[in-house]
Amino acid sequence: MGKTVEQRERVVVRFAGDSGDGMQLVGGRFTDATALLGNDLATLPDFPAEIRAPAGTIPGVSAFQIHFASRDILTPGDTPNVLVAMNPAALKANLATLERGATIIANEDAFTRRNLERAGYASNPLEDDALADFRVHRVPMTTLTTRAAEGLEGVGTRDAARAKNLFALGLLSWLYGRPTDGTERWIEAKFARRPAARDANLAAFRAGWSFGETTELLEVQYRVDPATDVAPGTYRQVNGTTATALGLIAASVRSGLPLLLASYPITPASELLHELSRHEGAGVRTVQAEDEIAAVGMALGAAYGGHLGVTATSGPGMDLKAETIGLAAMLELPLVVIDVQRAGPSTGMPTKTEQSDLLMALHGRHGESPLPVLAAATPGDCFETAFEAARLAIEHRTPVILLSDGFLSNSSEPWRIPDATALPAIDPAFATAPSNGTPFLPYARDARGVRPWAPPGTPGLQHRIGGLEKQDGSGAISYDPANHATMTRLRAQRIAAIARELPPLELDADDGAELLVLGWGSSYGAIRAAVRRVRDRGVPVARAHLRHLEPLPPNVGDVLRAFPRVLVPELNTGQLAYLLRARFLVDVRSHAKVSGQPLFAAELETAILEALA
């Protein structure tokens, strides 16, 4: 057809529609096609807490954003270049995020008086000058979709209209030259058992593509070449949930310990339960416990039995697990507790992201009960961090808290698949009966301060453990003051000693950098992107990112003190900053954002420049 093809280095597309419009579905498929094309990418789903808020309203809007590029991508993008708006509410809810000149593709059929009212529009923004700053394409998607399905066997008008999201997918696939064959196969597989739906969706998809190809509305097709600055290897797409699940399974395989995940559903942590429950067999078992207390109890019971016990939850569930985590700390048994953080406090905003559970992870239990805390940086990094959490738990006999968040768990990125055989082996080093007839001492420690793990079933090692303070060595109940002081010290030391095993904090610093940006968790991408922008301006700056929050890598103090200024961006009111100030007496400055949204590179760029001013 000879349309112009323009090249773009990076594009951010946002699909937005009603909760019932299937935006997550087409977003996911667009992502898969993009990944297979070799673009680097990052995605961000954004949906309401209600199962289905009233159709057509702002609270009911569900969106999916994808950022893809031919260079290394760090975030799902702050502001979309293209907004697909399936109805007025979707337009209204997302307009503020667009920059001048952005493209809007609107399903004009949905801009009825009723829908306009529901979205709170007094007049139709497609018709007044509300969108003057944007390039607006009005596409009658519903009509075109219905028309495409006309005459298909068993497809009614309403069914056909439902496929309009596939029309949008087809149109966007054309616009950015995403291959169609994979998507067609995917539609066929998805609707294999419902031929009418299959046909309607296929027709809608093809209609969308052809619309792009033929209509004069759109003059330019874009090309985003495969990313080139990508390490060689085999890739797949993962979101944080899948990567966490795979990391745990890998730890199970490399330790030889069967995995039990016991969880109670809660958004967004439920996904991990769903994911792992599909892998039964392969040594994975899952239990949906009656509540979070039972869930962590079951995981600890399994750990006592020599398994890899894991439990996953989000904020409110963490509160409930505290007592049992404290028991695990006292029992010195391996346990992995995953907190997929969400916006709090209390029920808060369950589908929104936040990093506000850090201090709780560190201090959220009575008494002195230190334990390791880790946080994952990107969806793909969840694999390694989960593996590391399990390794520490098993090898050091300790509960470990792994902090993820709603953003990580839902967003996805291409991930280089690691070589399974190259993953380190994890040694559970189960105790064996002392051969010389000496009594078994369940609280004797090795050089690292680690006690023996003797699951039931091992002959000759019968012993009793519990939550009461115990005698150093023998593990018998003890109320001796000096012993309590000793045990408190030993428990602290054995966790602190883990720092010796940790790689030093890696520093990415320009010569002459006056400012260190130190982050943790899922703001990794946004921080890197912001730092890149600052560097692009020629301003030197340094950057580092913590995976281990407790214990901290041994060189953190030195790194902090090497810079006149330190900026810590976090999605909370400054929790890591607080921790660093207490530990190192460094006047760390906090960039705090608590809005339920991920960190944006642009706002951090500003903050960095301000901090340097």
Binding site: A35, G38, G182, V230, A231, P232, T234, Y235, R236, L246, I249, A250, S252, V253, R254, G256, L257, P258, L259, L260, A262, E280, G281, A282, G283, R285, V287, A289, E290, I293, A294, A295, G297, M298, G301, A302, Y304, G305, H307, T324, L327, L331, I417, P418, D419, A420, T421, P455, P456, G457, P459, L461, Q462, H463, R464, I465, G466, G467, L468, I477
Partner: protein
């Protein structure tokens, strides 16, 4: 360690820990009965686990020379569920108190029973909080004066058996701390039950609630008040078996003189009924252990075990590296050279 092939003895189950209950506490009798009974099972001590909650009863774990975990208050059924789900090779016993099981631990108890987790739950019911020095428990009678209820407890107590039956328990029984014959019998039945076994043991707390079960424990009164339930046998009791239980026309159960009602009218106990309604009615025959009270196995039915259907393999098999590799590569992949 016991040499294989050697017959186990009571001593094999006695740990070296000094028992720290009050003199005369019913827990001693139960401990002795359990230690005396376990050799029967022929399971080596290393394959037996006692998981307990917090309370005087919770100290039980320390005194058994098996594996033991003294958990936290009320959570032993949850801990045990995790262990039972993953370790079908173990014999797992939960020891709990009336506060531990029915107050803070109520939710885990009812769910462990519903799921039919293969554990034996022994509830030492002394109708009081022992370890915390004498507050009311959910089995304390209305009007009881305790440290926390100086004007008398005003809530109706639970009947632990009725609660268990309402929670789909597959095995429900009751016995007495000091009954050296009946207690092991009930333990034997519990051990033989494949699923979750719930055993209420009336236990005297001489310090904070002395004599609560005298009506059943006393040599003299006991004979007149214990109603032993035996599967397949007519329900009768008393020193000369002169009394019995019948089902009245209106469906209610009633205690009668056998001489009046006739032997044929007696209700024949059927512990294996699918429908728990009869067991429930028997649990209700005596609201409190202050008069004739049934003891024995109220209900014992087979049901699928928790975990059995869930897992394709009951063994501790873990995927190998090749399977992991396949899993890592599942779905769409692409290669960058």
């Amino acid at each position: 360690m016991t040499a294989l092939g050697d017959a186990l003895t009571k001593a094999d189950f006695q740990s070296d820990q000094e028992t720290r209950w009050c003199p005369g506490c019913g827990d001693y009798a139960i401990l002795s009965a359990v230690q005396g009974f376990l050799p029967e099972l022929g399971i080596p001590p290393e394959r037996i686990v006692f998981m307990t909650g917090i309370g005087c009863a919770g100290r039980f774990a320390y005194y058994m020379d098996t594996y033991g975990m003294h958990g936290i208050h009320g959570r032993a059924p949850a801990l045990a569920t995790g262990l039972a789900t993953t370790r079908a090779d173990l014999s797992i016993w939960v020891v709990t108190g009336d506060g531990d099981a029915l107050s803070i631990g109520g939710n885990h108890l009812i769910h462990a029973l519903r799921r039919n987790v293969p554990v034996k739950i022994l509830l030492f019911n002394n109708q009081i909080y022992g370890l915390t020095k004498g507050q009311a428990s959910p089995t304390s009678e209305r009007g009881k004066i305790t440290k926390s209820t100086p004007f008398g407890s005003h809530d109706r107590p639970f009947d632990p058996l009725a609660l268990a039956l309402g929670a789909e328990a597959t095995f429900v029984a009751r016995t007495l701390d000091t009954d050296r014959q009946h207690l092991p019998e009930v333990l034997r039945a519990a051990a033989a039950h494949a699923g979750a076994a719930f055993v209420e043991i009336y236990q005297n707390c001489p310090v904070f609630n002395d004599g609560a079960f005298d009506v059943l424990r006393d040599r003299a009164q006991g004979a007149a008040n214990r109603i032993p339930l035996v599967h397949g046998a007519p329900i009768r009791f008393g020193a000369g078996l002169e009394r019995g239980v019948v089902r009245e026309a209106d469906g209610d159960l009633r205690i009668v003189d056998v001489a009046d009602a006739g032997e044929d009218a007696l209700l024949v106990h059927d512990a294996h009924r699918e429908d728990p309604s009869l067991a429930f009615a028997l649990a209700r025959l005596a609201e409190r252990p202050t008069g004739p009270t049934p003891i024995g196995v109220f209900r014992a039915v087979e049901r699928p075990l928790h975990g059995a259907a869930a897992t394709r393999d009951r063994e501790r098999t873990v995927a190998d590296t090749a399977a992991l590799d396949a899993l890592l590569h599942a779905g769409d992949t692409w290669t960058v050279a």
